[in-house]
């Protein structure tokens, strides 16, 4: 049964783990600096350690605000806080577990008619304001320290990355410890009065009843981290401000420091020993502190990157959370106390409806007994005044017995009537609850319907966008194809130019040779003729275009790989020279040009063309160069 009552606290712990672990490791996981698995393992271990070792300080302060003295009350208070956190998270309103639990405790105080300690409340509220401010101040100081350090040391970017990764793990572990130490009060603080009194001996160490409770809460937080925090962590990066990995360290470290300060008993005692006022040990909102830290960094950089709309939403959440939790707690306590007849506090433990009915009935019985007594006295007086005969006295005694019997019946009737009233009251409440459940279900179904409708319309939009995207992609591909085609044309032109260059060179040398022949015919000087012969020989040697040709053909082969591939697949029986001829024809070169390039006569080129046509099985009406162009 106790475990059932603890379930609301465990649910709150789960919510806390799901939401607040993102404050510690969100940036690291969101930016892929640390894997989620590693982050979850470290966070879980250190949250549990923080809760068990240092969780008592903040719990004590929360206890001062309102010591929820019955486990039923603690269950209801924790459940109200948990539901507030759950609903607000569901509707994406920034929420703080600390504020929710404080609101719920105040609701409990109201319900039980107990005064709320204003000093403690103001202390808590002041830390809510101080937490983010302190977070911002720490963030600014740490930023300057980090900036100066990296400037002086000048570490390689990759080494810096490795150090940051390691630092994120260390700071994350510290942050998780502080989160466990400070926020376990939110989860298990209200159950402290119901903690077991016996110690649990693990051999190396012992756990007190409260520590056992905190261990359980810590495990609930760890489950929350493992099961739900990933999706929160994945989205936290793009929230209030885009964070770099360096900024992530600063924000997490300043957040951890603030949480540590507000939960460390040792630090508070140390400050006190210096003659300073003690640090209030209060559960502060982890989310608020991290927001303060990010805000501090944002303001330091000119405040351009801050998402002020989201900031407004967060501020609204700060006010709304305790109010909603308080109201919810008040009504939940009423239901639990009056419908389920579970005591919600030790003071009003007897004030359950059962006891109220019992008291009311006792009171009525007393009244009726008095009435009965007075009735008997009256009748005796009446009888004494009118006591004429013994028989008359006997008669009056009989009358008295009748009356007594009558009043007894009246008492029973009155009791039954009260029972009936109680029944009607319970029935009314039951109907009320059913009506609320029906209303909530209808709202829920309505929201599902709306959501589905929204999803359908969004899907339609996505489809439209995909269509548009597909069109753009098609256009892009067409453009890309055109670019490739242009590039190919350019290359082919380059190739043609090179070929023409070779031909021109050849022609020029031929011209020179014919001129030499002419000069030889016109002169009889043997010395000049000898020199002209040498020159003729030199030109002939230089005219050997084999090297140029090889280079050119290599280039042709390189550029027309695709064309050769296609040619091979359609006409596999073509020789290498025929394939090259195909390329020249594709480049729209004349037979004369091809002849010069391949060092054969134009007639041979014509013959090669004829043979090629035959091999390709072309009809009379088909033009060879067009077939090759279209290939």
């Amino acid at each position: 049964m106790t475990f059932f009552f603890l379930s609301s606290g465990l649910f709150l712990g789960w919510s806390l783990g799901a939401n607040d672990a993102a404050n510690v490791f969100g940036s690291a996981v969101g930016t892929r600096m640390v894997s989620f698995k590693r982050a979850a393992i470290i966070a879980s271990i250190f949250v549990v350690l923080g809760a068990v070792i240092q969780g008592a300080g903040a719990t004590h302060t929360l206890g001062k605000l309102g010591m929820v003295s019955a486990i039923g009350g603690a269950f209801t208070v924790a459940l109200s806080a948990a539901l507030t956190v759950y609903w607000m998270t569901k509707y994406k309103v920034p929420v703080s577990t600390s504020q929710a639990i404080v609101g719920a405790i105040i609701g409990w105080n109201f319900y039980n008619g107990l005064p709320t300690d204003v000093t403690v409340l103001s202390k808590i509220i002041s830390t809510w304001i101080m937490g983010p401010i302190l977070g911002a101040v720490f963030a600014i100081i740490l930023y300057y320290i980090q900036h100066v350090y990296f400037k002086i040391v000048g570490i390689h970017l990759l080494k810096q990355d490795a150090y940051i990764r390691f630092a994120l793990l260390l700071v994350g572990a510290f942050g998780s410890f502080s989160l466990g130490a400070n926020n376990i009060a939110n989860v298990m603080g209200v159950f402290v009065s119901s903690a077991p009194e016996h110690y649990l001996n693990f051999g190396l160490f012992k756990l007190s009843g409260v520590q056992q409770l905190f261990l359980l809460g810590g495990i609930a937080i760890a489950i929350g981290i493992f099961t739900y925090s990933k999706r929160v962590m994945d989205t936290v990066g793009g929230g209030l401000m885009q964070l770099s990995s360096k900024s992530a360290i600063i924000t997490v470290l300043s957040h951890s420091l603030v949480l540590f300060i507000f939960s460390s008993t040792g630090l508070s005692n140390f400050v006190q020993s210096l003659g300073l006022p003690p640090i209030p040990l209060v559960p502060v909102s982890s989310s608020q502190v991290i927001v303060g830290s990010i805000l501090g960094l944002g303001l330091l950089k000119g405040g351009y990157n801050i998402n002020y709309k989201l900031l407004g939403g967060i501020s609204l959440g700060w006010i709304a959370t305790p109010v909603i939790a308080g109201v919810l707690s008040f009504f939940a306590l009423f239901f639990v106390n009056n419908v389920f007849l579970i005591p919600v506090s030790s003071e009003n433990g007897n004030n359950t409806i059962k006891n109220k009915i019992f008291n009311r009935n006792s009171h009525k019985i007393k009244n009726n007994t008095k009435l009965l007594d007075s009735a008997s006295i009256d009748s005796i007086k009446k009888d004494s005044v009118n006591s004429f005969k013994e028989s008359t006295r006997i008669e009056s005694v009989n009358d008295f017995n009748d009356k007594k019997e009558y009043f007894k019946k009246l008492i029973i009737k009155s009791g039954n009537k009260d029972k009936n009233i109680s029944k009607y009251f319970n029935l009314a409440i039951l109907i009320g609850i059913i009506a609320i459940i029906v209303f909530l279900i209808s709202r829920w179904l309505n929201s599902i319907y709306r959501r589905n409708k929204l999803i359908l319309s969004k899907n339609a939009q996505i489809l439209e966008a995909q269509k548009a995207l597909a069109e753009i992609e098609t256009k892009y591909h067409l453009l890309e194809n055109k670019q490739i085609e242009d590039k190919l044309n350019y290359k082919n032109k380059e190739l043609t130019t090179m070929a023409l260059n070779l031909i021109e060179k050849n022609n020029f040398l031929e011209l020179l040779k014919s001129k030499i022949e002419e000069i030889k015919l016109e002169t009889n000087d043997s010395a000049i003729i000898k020199k002209l012969n040498n020159l003729y020989l030199l030109i002939s040697q230089n005219q050997n275009l084999e090297n140029d040709r090889q280079a050119f053909q290599m280039h042709v082969d390189e550029l027309n790989k695709d064309f050769f591939y296609k040619l091979n697949s359609i006409y596999p029986n073509l020789s290498k020279n025929e394939k090259r001829l195909c390329v020249y024809l594709r480049l729209k070169m004349s037979s004369k040009e091809i002849a010069a390039l391949t060092n054969i006569s134009p007639k041979s080129v014509e013959m090669s063309r004829y043979r090629l046509r035959k091999k390709m099985n072309l009809g009379h009406d088909e033009q060879l160069d067009k077939v090759l162009q279209n290939l």
Binding site: T31, G154, H156, L158, K159, R165, E494, T497, A551
Partner: protein, 214 residues
């Protein structure tokens, strides 16, 4: 655990940058040997450049794998890998150019030798300037500006020199055939491409410098 992989990646990046740097030097020398008709040394340089280009490709692939496998500097990894790819493009272009010299054997008139040589030097200077800029990005991002402005300067100089050379080819060398002139123009374009690739890398570097600035 964190530092072992980091050290090896840093070594790879350094080796990659050295390879690119050496590739640019080899290309520059290769062009000079071509202009001086020193076929033996030209062939040696071409072979050397082939090897350096292949080495650069292997290293860049290794670095890319390391970046994505171990999610190193995840926020900028895509940009850094793109930067390295652009640096790899420089050596690819250099190799392609020298190969074209070997294959097409452009007939460069002697009087244009000095212009071609100067164009090659300036274009390579842009590529050479991008290497220290990249090194400074990794070691001290705030000093990128000290180096990257040189890249833009040399790239512009290359454009000016290439325009002058093209004008000279088409106007001052009347003894050349049009086809020969067009052939030479292609080679000025090819040389210009090296500084263009360097400029592309410098642009990515500038964007990275802004992104990494806190």
């Amino acid at each position: 655990m964190f530092f072992k992989k980091t050290k090896s990646t840093i070594r790879d990046i350094d080796e990659f940058l050295n390879t690119i740097d050496q590739g640019i030097l080899v290309f520059k020398e290769g062009v000079k040997y071509y202009l001086e008709n020193d076929d033996d040394n030209f062939s040696k340089n071409l072979e050397k450049l082939y090897k350096l280009e292949a080495k650069a490709d292997t290293i860049v692939l290794k670095i890319r794998n390391e970046f994505f496998e171990h999610s190193l500097i995840p926020q900028y990894s895509a940009d850094v890998v793109s930067l390295l790819d652009h640096l790899d493009d420089i050596i690819d272009t250099a190799k392609e150019n020298l190969f074209q010299y070997d294959v097409e054997v452009p007939d460069i008139p002697k009087k244009l030798n000095s212009e071609f040589s100067k164009l090659t030097d300036v274009s390579c200077a842009a590529a050479e300037a991008v290497i220290p800029a990249v090194r400074s990005f990794f070691n001290n991002p705030s000093s990128i500006k000290d180096n990257e402005h040189r890249v833009y300067f040399y790239e512009k100089e290359t454009d000016v020199l290439a325009s002058d050379l093209k004008r000279k080819i088409f106007k001052d060398t009347k003894h050349l055939k049009l086809s020969q002139k067009i052939h030479l123009r292609y080679f000025t374009l090819h040389i210009e491409q090296i500084s263009d690739r360097a400029e592309d890398a410098a642009r990515i570097l500038s964007a990275l410098a802004i992104k990494t600035k806190d």
